[in-house]
Symmetry: C2
């Protein structure tokens, strides 16, 4: 229950920074957990800790939405849940279509997380006629041929692409042609879309590769990439003279393995 507090949309209308928008869902999740535990208010310090961010950042982020806290007290949990939900557009229903019912599409269709929080799986689609017609998560998979009609009839506003990489761009084109302006892409491809269409991607192998980069730096105790401090004054002018020892005529034949790693087969 919010104490009858007034709102000042402040920055509203223009310009909540992208970095802030990306964190609002985290705050919302932390607040929802607090709400379920019956916690009435939180300080920025507590909420920041729960969301895994710095409290100054949290306060700055929230200040873009308005002045929803009370000095000396903190934030009313329910009230802030509402305000963030509204800002994110979660007070309305967002019908989502999942395109490409393979392993991942199947898993997402069964994923409970959609239903709550304003999202609703409105349709499952696949280009394979053997897949279309199957019943998954209580829904009948439709064929891609019906895409335009489904988007129109069900008011689908967000498309989730879970096709193999080679099919993704074509699907994106059709989604855009059908009027969809928000796409969540799970296929490992860069999608090209017109201005005004938002694409976000979820990319497993990119995340793994970033982890591998850091993991490599940890385990290796070699002077260069390791956590070693700057080796006693590497004078810029000197390095060219120091470097030649590292110079290699070609990348192949080293102990590094001359072969370039093959990427995903498909």
């Amino acid at each position: 229950m919010a104490t009858g507090r007034t709102e000042r949309p402040a920055h509203r209308g223009r310009g909540i920074p992208e970095a802030t928008v990306a964190r609002l869902p985290l705050y919302l999740r932390a607040l929802t957990a607090l709400s379920e535990r019956g916690v009435p208010t939180v300080s920025s310090e507590e909420l920041a800790a729960a969301a895994g961010v710095n409290s100054a950042k949290l306060r700055k982020d929230l200040s873009y939405l308005g002045s929803y806290g009370t000095r000396g007290v903190g934030y009313d949990v329910e009230y802030l849940v509402y305000q963030i939900s509204r800002e994110l557009g979660l007070t309305q229903d967002w019908p989502v279509a999942i395109i490409g019912i393979g392993n991942l599409g199947h898993a997402l269709a069964n994923y409970g997380g959609f239903a709550s929080r304003g999202f609703r799986v409105a349709a499952l689609l696949d280009a394979d006629r053997a897949v279309a017609g199957q019943r998954i998560a209580g829904m009948v998979v439709r064929h891609m041929d019906d895409l335009e009609q489904i988007v129109r009839d069900d008011g689908v506003s967000i498309g989730v692409i879970t096709t193999p990489a080679p099919a993704a761009q074509g699907v994106a084109d059709r989604l855009v042609a059908a009027g969809i302006t928000s796409i969540l892409n799970f296929a490992p491809t860069v999608l090209t879309v017109p201005e005004g269409v938002d694409v976000r991607k979820v990319d497993l192998s990119i995340e793994l590769q970033i982890l591998a980069f850091h993991e490599q730096r940890k385990s290796s105790t070699e002077p260069a990439p390791g956590p070693a401090p700057v080796p006693a004054a590497v004078t810029p002018a000197v390095s060219p003279a120091v470097a030649p020892a590292v110079t290699r005529p070609t990348a192949s034949g080293g102990d590094l393995g001359g072969d370039l790693p093959e990427v995903m087969p498909a």
Copy 2:
């Protein structure tokens, strides 16, 4: 095959910016596609277009790895694939363990993308004894009790958490205790880990919420959240008097559903 070019590790040893590290996999993917098409060289302009970034950014990113291009010519595709792979640590094998074999864990286990590119699913684990023992993607699911032994025996360095949210922190703690220092978290929870442990997260509902935010701004032509300009002087002093109509005592009871998004059932 690289043209006999010399290498200058330049910035190496310390500090490739995180933003750059996060893009290297994109470049690698684009380069691999070019390599498969037999393209021998690319300009920064072409490669940047393929990766969906600005060419100045690409050149700056690559400059952190060294001087691997040729002025007036461009980059040797094979050579650059090799250099980026090496930088990311993909010239070695990274055994991965997937913990939590529900919908998503199952899908990931069957996902081909792992195997290529230096990653290898070394083990599948689940806390449920009814799941352990099952055969999935040619592997027998092991019970969580065996975690420590598996990490040790198989040299697992990366843990992928696909458990329900409430179980994730406990699993993370055990992974860390077992010596794992890189975690990819699919559960919608903030994980707390010691210094030196890297956590990256993949979060479907956060991505959807970010899309919803932008989608809302597009479709709504309402004055406040829409793309409308600042409505004729919203004097700060006045807003408290204007706002009360929007003030609501509580957020619950709405269509928001007070529920936190449940993750995959298992």
